[in-house]
């Protein structure tokens, strides 16, 4: 089993689905079990769909490059795209959705980045040479 995983795919929701499926198979084959594959899929789903919807703004011909390798007790990820930069050149803040409101006012979005912050370590964003690079780690709960 190779120690790293790398995949290039277009900025399109079903391509993201296929990428997540291939990553899950690689993780299982590499011996990752318990909560790790589920947490990774949730984090990567949010990150990659954000690239599709915001960085590439729904354009389906953008390139996304996903890499993953084992590091320490966990997994280190690197997601690159050539789409639009993050607003303010910064990561969205760790902000939980406000739920103390009337039913009709409950939020239907804004959960994604909060979950990414909650489930990752060392989350960092860089804009270099017109490209976005997001790096983070996912570590098993008993090693955090």
């Amino acid at each position: 089993m190779p120690e790293s995983f790398r995949l290039e795919f277009p900025s399109e929701e079903l391509a993201v689905r296929r990428a997540l499926e291939r990553l899950r198979h690689w993780l299982l084959a590499a011996g990752w079990d318990g909560a790790v594959p589920g947490k990774v899929e949730l984090v990567l789903g949010e990150v990659l769909n954000n690239v599709v919807e915001h960085a590439y703004d729904g354009k389906m011909d953008g390139l996304i490059v996903l890499s993953c390798r084992a590091r320490g007790a966990g997994l280190a990820f690197d997601v690159k795209d050539a789409g639009r930069e993050m607003p303010g050149l910064a990561l969205p803040k760790r902000r939980p959705a406000k739920l103390d409101c009337a039913l009709d006012d409950l939020p239907e979005g804004g959960f994604g980045w909060f979950m990414v912050h909650e489930l990752t370590e060392d989350l960092a964003y860089h804009r270099v040479a017109g490209r976005n690079a997001l790096t983070f780690s996912v570590i098993p709960d008993d090693q955090r």
């Binding site: 947490k39 949730l42 769909n49 599709v52 739920l99 979950m115």
Partner: protein, 112 residues
């Protein structure tokens, strides 16, 4: 988006016959929920036992489906896998929805 609905006098069970409610299908899910829950019982139970992945878009669509029911009807959830349960706990949405272990437990709660 394959949703299956069955109904008794005061309870409707909507079963999601899909493995994922994600960004690719969230809008279809919300629209299908509007169709199947347009009229009916005061309690709607969404059976998620076959779903092993929900992302933030899917979560938003479930919240939207609850709001579509209006103020007098309730949407409960049943049969959450560990991965799905994690999303509700992380976002604290487990405090908004009533969550049952499975459909049988929901039926017991609302029987009679």
């Amino acid at each position: 988006m394959d949703l299956q609905s069955s109904e008794t006098a005061d309870m409707q069970i909507v079963t999601v016959n899909e493995a994922r409610i994600d960004a690719a299908v969230a809008i279809r899910f919300k629209d299908r929920m509007r169709e199947v829950t347009g009229t009916g019982a005061p309690h709607v139970i969404l059976d998620l036992a076959q779903v092993d992945f929900i992302d933030s878009s899917g979560l938003g669509a479930i919240v939207a489906a609850m709001k579509q029911l209006g103020a007098t009807r309730r949407l409960d959830l049943a049969g959450l896998s560990a991965n799905v349960d994690r999303v509700f706990r992380l976002t604290r949405m487990d405090s908004v929805f009533t969550i049952h272990d499975d459909v049988a437990q929901a039926q017991a709660v609302y029987a009679g």
